[in-house]
């Protein structure tokens, strides 16, 4: 037990424009450790399995409790959070790769800014009048709150986009997470005043029509967000919206 080891195979890349390569590390096993703690261990003595001294591995992380969305990577080929990936539940050697659908900044760290841009595109906010004391908000039925809550847990981790066959750097598809957010804000009593704008966006190129309904997204979402329900609901809203627009013309 005492000298149990963890074997990591890490896909490395010096910078955005360099070619990727692989390096292997072996670190001591501690009970209950996750992928991040294994990576942390490599930093204490950054020497590969075959004894080469290398630069410490770069990765993204924050909360270490699966709520900030920072630490996404491909672990044994599956998009997921490295902070909640326990070593004992993984097959060894553990292969770590950066997401493939986003530009690599270095090693396991990628640039997910398109996700935040998508939130602007779909106006993912409630247009409040101002921040002064204007009294309470509208009441919300608890069942509706429960429905909204599911989507409000989206932490912009990008797992759903990594898994989606329709999402890639040559398509304009906003992806499942943004569709989930459009659905959430269309549900809010004040948020829905921007519903038409959101549906215009969802109707256009890169909108919900680009979804091929492969359902990969919902299978990988670490927060268990029912993305395909939102996709279906937004699809329905878009159809109605299109008819309304036609009638108006």
């Amino acid at each position: 037990m005492a000298d149990k080891k963890v074997h990591l195979i890490v896909k490395r890349q010096e910078g955005p424009d360099s070619a990727p390569y692989w390096e292997e590390f072996e670190v001591p096993h501690t009970p209950g450790m996750n992928v991040i703690s294994a990576l942390m261990e490599t930093r204490l003595n950054p020497v590969t399995r075959d004894g080469k001294r290398v630069r410490p591995v770069t990765w993204d992380s924050g909360c270490l409790e699966e709520v900030c969305g920072a630490c996404s990577m491909l672990i044994n080929g599956r998009p997921r959070q490295s902070c909640s990936a326990l070593v004992d539940n993984l097959e060894q050697p553990i292969r770590l790769e950066p997401f493939s659908k986003f530009p690599v900044l270095r090693d396991l760290m990628v640039d997910r800014s398109p996700m935040f841009e998508a939130l602007k595109r779909i106006k993912a906010w409630v247009p409040v009048d101002g921040t002064y004391a204007m009294g309470p908000a509208e009441k919300i039925d608890p069942a509706q709150q429960q429905e909204m809550y599911k989507y409000s847990e989206c932490m912009t981790c990008g797992c759903c986009l990594e898994a989606c066959p329709q999402y890639n750097d040559s398509s304009a598809f906003v992806g499942a997470s943004a569709i989930g957010q459009a659905y959430l804000f269309n549900m809010n009593p004040t948020g829905k005043t921007l519903k038409d704008d959101r549906l215009d966006e969802m109707m256009g190129p890169g909108g919900v029509v680009d979804c091929g309904n492969a359902q990969n997204c919902v299978r990988v979402c670490p927060k268990g967000i029912p993305l395909t329900d939102a996709i279906a609901a937004i699809g329905g809203q878009v159809t109605l919206h299109a008819v309304k627009r036609l009638l108006r013309q």
Binding site: E14, G15, T30, G32, M33, N34, I36, S37, M40, R43, N45, P46, R53, R55, P56, T58, G62, C63, L64, E65, E66, V67, C68, G69, A70, C83, L86, D88, L105, R106, M109, R112, S113, L119, K120, K123, A124, W125, V126, P127, V128, G130, T131, A133, M134, G135, P136, A137, K139, I140, D141, P142, Q145, Y149, S152, E153, M155, T156, F185, T190
Partner: protein, 657 residues
């Protein structure tokens, strides 16, 4: 309006400040070392306080004030606490309007629940992810201003220093793009530091890994005072992971969880195979009446002392068992699952074990810093609330010291962060209107040169024998051992020496990476220096404060309490009466009668209690003061103590009968 504002940090405090400034039509540059949506505030689970009295319990902001002051053992400047608690109900309404998915009552109103330190249902919550939901609501509003070009975000930019002119006024900041290490200087007429807590100074804590405290340390090293640094809240039960300490709610003990260690520390058996006769249920033994339900701070201290002082933790490590298995807690598994399912989920996910099957392994975890950058408690007389002692430099959120005193009440920090941000915003807007002048270009180019030189120095550190991450572990271990739960002057003295040693060894770090893209080793090494500095403020404050107050527990200076039967009502003692009269004269107020007069028919105080109260009053006079630390290069910080503004209530002793 002319002039720009820079806000550093996009947690709840930074976002709240940003919204207020942008709403006034003033452009904001918002800096954050991670995308703001990933700030540490997302970790808060429990909720946010506001005395909205939605449950017909007669709750009122007045009671919220009293609970907060009492909980913080009267170290918070009182007018601020008053304002915060008065404003809390409006803040909740606003957050609700912004779309926070707060839990609801059947009729659709906001639901409130009870939290520690109060008798009222005062805490609004959104599932088990309140912090995340509040963060997203504010983030969305900021994104709206971003789309309208009033806010420009600099995400993945790390704050390095304030740009100060010859007169010591803050004129902007120097920051580094962590993607490519480029340092730039940015102009502003007002800057606000909202960079959150310093958990990483303790190695592992319940905080996010980005909470290094480096930004606070950097402005401290530039002349901002650091206040009440010694007040560090430790949560009694967290899962000690190899990477961090994850919070486990105290409700587990409430439902029958029992704390124990093997009688023989070398006992390597699976805990389920260790019979009761070989277990030491040390809380139950020592506190037969309360058992495992002793108050939070007592539980924390006992667990700590069993592991650290007596070396009796599981396998010699800093861990004890928290046993909620049906066999030991006597509770039905299904019932437990229904009540504690959320907590069990965290444990299953991160510890990979099932608390229903096998006892949890827990240890107290550093959780929150009450101390932080000094900001003015008052407006007027040249002072502006939320402004530091450096003109033009403001601060809000966990990184500043106000509102919570010597100990924070659960669910009060989300409130103080948002309230602080909402206060700082409008004040900066006023400030820039009266300070529109532009600083000389040389002020900026000088700072740029300084920061580039510092970077070059650190990048060139490649011949030494130290590893930055290993040195950080040592820092964390030393701080956790000497400067968290139990403090002793001897240990603190050693700690100060250790910090000096770590500072020296820091220069001997091999950064082992001179490359440009996302150079974490280099950035961490820079931050580590600043962590060591900040640790000195905390440790020195703890060393000098010879008393017990709130989270600061120094057993060698605990006031000796009379026997339970001899305790009485403090308002019946002469010492207390005299003390209150003095305070009234000093602060020019007359406190409400309820703080001064015991109800008719209250028994007179026993002589032993009179004696105790005399000592207690002496302690208050000596120590109910704000600690102010001033940074000194290559030396220990200077510490001075300042009076606290007590215009609402006189302090009262903490007596459990």
């Amino acid at each position: 309006m002319s002039g720009r504002v820079i806000i550093v940090g996009g947690g709840l405090a930074g976002l709240a400040a940003t919204i207020k400034v942008a709403e006034a039509g003033v452009p904001v540059d918002l800096f954050s070392v991670v995308p703001v949506k990933r700030s540490h505030s997302v970790c808060a689970q429990g909720g946010i306080n506001a005395a909205k009295n939605m449950k017909g319990e007669g709750d009122h902001p007045d009671i919220h004030v009293t609970d907060t002051l009492f909980g913080g053992e009267y170290l918070a400047d009182q007018p601020l606490v008053r304002r915060m608690c008065d404003e809390a109900p409006n803040i909740i309404d606003l957050l609700d309007r912004m779309g926070v998915t707060f839990n609801r009552t059947p009729e659709g109103f906001l639901d409130f629940r009870r939290f520690g330190g109060t008798l009222h249902n005062r805490t609004a919550f959104a599932g088990a992810t309140t912090g995340q939901q509040l963060m997203y609501a504010l983030d969305e509003q900021v994104r709206r201003y971003e789309a309208a070009s009033l806010v420009e975000k600099y995400e993945y930019w790390e704050f390095l220093s304030a740009v100060k002119d010859g007169e010591g006024r803050c004129r902007g900041i120097a920051a580094m793009n962590i993607w490519d290490r480029e340092v730039k200087v940015f102009r502003a007429n007002a800057v606000c530091i909202c960079t959150g807590g310093p958990g990483m100074v303790f190695g592992k804590s319940t905080n996010s890994v980005i909470n290094t405290g480096a930004a606070a340390s950097r402005v401290w090293q530039q002349g901002v005072w650091y206040a009440n640094g010694e007040f560090i809240q430790v949560h009694p039960t967290s899962i000690p992971g190899a990477d961090k300490l994850r919070l486990i709610s105290e409700s587990v003990r409430g439902e029958g969880g029992r704390v124990w260690v093997p009688r023989n520390p070398a006992d390597k058996r699976d805990p389920v195979e260790i019979p009761d006769s070989d277990r030491d249920y040390f809380l139950e033994t020592k506190y037969p009446k309360y058992g495992n339900l002793v108050p939070r701070d007592v539980a924390t201290r006992e667990i700590f002392s069993v592991c650290v002082d007596e070396n009796r933790g599981i396998n010699g490590e800093n861990m004890v068992y928290l046993d909620i298995t049906p066999a030991r807690s006597g509770k039905d598994g299904e019932v437990l699952e229904r009540k504690l399912g959320g907590v069990f989920e965290i444990y299953r996910k991160f510890a990979g074990d099932d608390p229903i099957q096998r006892p949890m392994r827990i240890f107290p975890g550093m959780h929150y810093s009450m101390g932080g950058l000094w900001v003015s408690p008052v407006d007027g007389g040249g002072q502006v609330r939320q402004k530091t002692n450096v003109p033009g430099l403001f601060s809000a959120g966990e990184v500043e010291f106000q509102y919570l005193g010597a100990n924070r009440l659960g669910a009060n920090s989300l409130l103080s962060c948002i309230f602080g941000g909402f206060t700082a915003g409008p004040r900066m807007v006023e400030w820039i209107a009266s300070h529109p002048e532009e600083a000389d270009e040389s002020v900026y180019s000088d700072e740029l040169k300084r920061q580039n030189a510092e970077n070059d120095k650190v990048l060139g550190m490649n011949s030494g024998g130290e590893n930055a991450f290993a040195l950080h572990r040592e820092l964390g271990q030393a701080m956790t051992a000497q400067c968290t739960v139990v403090r002793r002057n001897e240990g603190l003295r050693q700690l100060m020496d250790k910090l000096g040693e770590l500072e020296e060894r820091w220069s001997d770090i091999d950064v082992n990476d001179a490359s440009t893209p996302v150079n974490q080793s280099f950035a961490f090494t820079r931050a580590l220096f600043d962590m060591i500095q900040l640790a000195k403020a905390m440790a020195k404050g703890a060393l000098l404060r010879d008393e017990c107050r709130g989270a600061h527990y120094k057993p060698d200076f605990d006031l000796e309490k009379p026997e339970k039967e001899q305790l009485g009502d403090h308002r019946m003692t002469d010492a207390y009466k005299g003390f209150v009269r003095e305070l009234e004269a000093k602060h020019g107020v007359e406190y409400d009668a309820k703080f001064k007069e015991a109800p008719a028919g209250t028994a007179p105080a026993a002589p032993e209690f009179q004696e105790y109260m005399r000592n207690w009053v002496e302690q208050q006079k000596r120590w109910s003061k704000t600690t102010l630390a001033t940074w000194k290069p290559n030396a220990e910080p200077d510490i001075e103590f300042r009076d606290v503004v007590m215009t609402c209530e006189p302090p009262k002793p903490r007596i459990y009968k």
